[in-house]
């Protein structure tokens, strides 16, 4: 096992998620950390990063993935997330009935 790559503190967006990595040959699952952030000085992009707990990984080495987003791209993701959040919420509320 290796140390985590992403720093995790109270400002990390989400520190306890069910994560999965899919490859052609295998699928792995592990707890995950997801974080949205931007550089503190001269923030010129939004960073979205994710790390699966390497303790639970059998195939993959310890790693973190990240994408650099423009403000527009970040908002596009946010909008899609909102949309699907509503959809899931509605469905879960329905099945409660």
């Amino acid at each position: 096992m290796s140390d985590r790559l992403l720093s995790v503190n109270a400002y990390t967006t989400l520190d306890l998620l069910d994560g999965e990595a899919e490859a052609h040959e295998f699928t792995e699952s592990a707890y995950a950390v997801v974080n949205a952030t931007a550089p503190r000085k001269n923030p010129d992009h939004v960073k979205l990063e994710m790390e699966l707990d390497n303790a639970e990984l059998e195939h993959l080495p310890a790693h973190a993935d990240r994408v650099r987003l423009t403000p527009e791209q970040a908002r596009t993701i946010a909008a899609d997330l909102e949309k699907y959040a509503s959809k899931v919420e509605a469905n879960l509320d329905d099945s409660d009935d």
Binding site: M1, S7, A10, Y11, T12, Y31, P39, N54
Partner: protein
């Protein structure tokens, strides 16, 4: 993700770069300007700080050692008093105790520690909590009248200089205290070294025990000797680029420089200036000098230092005495300064164990009294969050050791008590994920009652840090614990990542991380299992560190067997979501914050 650090106010004010001397003048007023504003706000009260300027002002207040406490505790500040090398001169401990007693009280009390307490930190400084803005003028007046300061205890500048707290009194290979004093006087508050790319942590050690922990500092001066023109000169070897935070721990690296004590300030200043000019100002996450050392290597580091930042020919490294290092070394001897030790003047110092570094104001007052009565009145703070009473004549030792205070702060504590270090945690800190100090108190107590250490194991260091900032220095402990979360019985609960086998000494080593997200209530059981495994498989009299070092990753992962035991943890829930973990109604909505200068709630009525 937010990162703590100081904005460059003077650049904001001036809109860009300015000629050096003007910048220097502006910098000179920078700290004073902030202080003026701070005092104005204090006079007028919390609500006088414009709400949309809160973040900017809280950044600036860090210049004066004030950190705004976390969500749910608005209008309260943590105050850090920087005491170079952890030295409290006669009278100063009493002042700290009195300030804690009068001002470090909040709307709730801590179930282990009550109210009005003092935290001794891993950088030999002092932290007080629940400080009201409105009390700052009185507090600063009292501190400054007694030679104490909160200035630049935080921010992108020289942090509190550390070393062997007993410099000047304990046996030393070379005298460190004059160097520490000179560095502090020259560089603390020095405008040329006040807007660095990032924090700058310096350690100066003169004693042969390695207790300055130089290996984890940006700049380390460690005792060494060199033959120069036929004469054996004692001075310091220079190492650069140590540091623990953000999962990128580094040991300070040897840049092949030996410095005489009288030249130490020039070389330290040169290194600081090098950092100022060449450190990464674009990316704060890449800014510490440890990354520059990674990038350049030690040869280039030395060359640039020599060519651009010092005016004399640097000597190559001398002979160090690292083979004598015992502090935090995980070896045969106690790796700390606890207990009775002879000073070089024939008197003694007595190191007292302060469990997780927290001492009530009453006890701190008593400490001051005992130091006055038995010693010279001086008290020293160590990086293991403990304190020393200095200058005790041999004839008075027995009486001091009989004092009731020493039952609670023992010079001969149980290994689990003596080995515990913990950061501030979710009680007050906005970075932390989990409860720390009280938890480590509970852990230490349970372990002491329930777990035997193998024969001959006198030391066992467990450091608990609430997040990856690593303020409790987990990477250099036998057992490193670091805050996380996990799910248990369907609920999110506080958990800890576990690392093993860290330590300093001649050959320092960072812990190997071998367990992730172990529920906090299963960690004592995991430690119990681990020690049983150690005992069963120990070869000869090998130390825990040696035992861990000879096993590979996979084997070590097997050693982590979390289990529930009789240990109970009442704070498994997400304490960072409470306004204060120990409040009876801890719901964020129940917070009285913000409060006025008297502690009366001024929270908006619609909460």
């Amino acid at each position: 993700m937010v990162d703590a650090g100081a904005d460059c106010l003077q650049v904001e004010l001036l809109g860009g770069h300015m000629p050096t001397d003007v910048e220097r003048w502006k910098s000179e007023v920078y700290g004073n300007e902030i202080r003026e504003h701070l005092m104005e706000f204090a006079e007028q009260g919390w609500e006088s700080i414009p709400e949309d300027e809160h973040d900017a002002w809280f950044e600036r207040f860090k210049w004066w050692g004030l950190y705004h406490q976390r969500n749910g505790q608005e209008s309260y500040f943590m105050m850090r008093i920087g005491t170079p090398n952890g030295v409290l001169k006669p009278g100063q401990t009493e002042v700290v105790a009195e300030i804690a007693d009068e001002y470090a009280r909040g709307p709730e009390t801590n179930p282990e520690f009550g109210d009005g307490y003092v935290d001794w930190t891993t950088r030999q400084s002092i932290q007080l909590h629940w400080i009201k803005l409105e009390d700052i003028p009185e507090i600063f007046e009292k501190l400054e009248a007694n030679g104490l300061s909160t200035q630049q205890a935080c921010g992108d500048s020289w942090r509190n200089i550390v070393g062997n707290p007993m410099a000047g009194k304990a046996p030393e290979f070379v005298d460190a205290w004059p160097v520490i004093k000179e560095l502090n006087e020259t560089f603390k508050g020095n405008d040329d070294h006040s807007n660095l790319p990032r924090k700058w942590k310096v350690s100066v050690t003169g004693s042969p025990d390695g207790s300055g922990q130089g290996d984890i500092n940006d700049l380390a001066l460690e005792p060494a000797s060199k033959e120069i023109d036929g004469e054996e000169i004692r001075g310091f070897n220079v190492r650069v680029g140590g540091g623990l935070s953000r999962n990128e721990p580094r040991l300070a690296r040897d840049i092949d420089v030996f410095v005489r004590p009288e030249n130490a300030a020039e070389v330290a200043g040169g290194m600081s200036a090098l950092f100022r000019e060449h450190g990464d100002r674009e990316d704060r996450y890449n800014a510490r000098i440890k990354f520059l050392v990674d990038e350049w290597g030690t040869e280039k580091m030395r060359r640039v230092l020599q060519e651009e930042f010092v005016d004399f020919e640097l000597e190559t490294a001398g002979e160090d005495i690292r083979e004598q290092y015992t502090y935090n070394a995980g070896g045969e001897e106690h790796g700390d300064l606890i207990g009775v030790h002879e000073q070089r003047d024939g008197n003694y110092y007595v190191g007292l164990n302060v469990l997780v570094g927290r001492m009530g104001a009453d006890d701190t007052l008593e400490l001051a009294d005992l130091a006055e009565e038995y010693g010279s009145g001086e008290v020293r703070i160590s990086q293991r969050q403990n304190v020393m009473i200095t200058d005790v004549p041999e004839d008075d030792l027995d009486d001091l050791l009989d004092e009731p205070l020493l039952e609670d702060y023992s010079p001969d504590p149980h290994p689990f008590m003596r080995g515990s270090v913990a950061c501030t945690g979710t009680e007050f800190c906005s970075l932390s994920i989990v409860e720390t100090k009280n938890r480590q108190v509970r852990y230490a107590r349970w372990l002491k009652e329930n777990v035997e250490l193998p024969d001959g194991v006198e030391d066992f260091h467990i450091h608990l840090s609430g997040c990856t900032a690593s303020c409790a220095q987990p990477q250099i402990a036998d057992i490193s614990l670091r805050g996380m979360k996990t799910r248990k019985d369907g609920e999110p609960v506080e958990a800890l990542d576990i690392g093993l086998g860290g330590g300093l000494g001649e050959n320092p080593q960072f812990a190997q991380w071998v367990g992730q997200r172990v529920p906090a209530d299963e960690v004592p059981g995991a430690i119990e299992n681990l020690l049983a495994t150690f005992e069963a498989n120990r070869e000869g009299g090998e130390t825990f560190r040696e035992f861990i070092a000879r096993h590979d990753e996979a084997e070590l992962e097997e050693f982590i067997e979390p289990k529930e035991t009789s240990y109970e943890d009442p704070y498994m829930h997400n304490t960072k979501m409470t306004w204060y973990p120990y409040a009876e109604d801890d719901d964020m909505d129940a917070s009285p914050a913000p409060t006025d200068g008297e502690g009366n709630s001024i929270a908006p009525a619609d909460d």
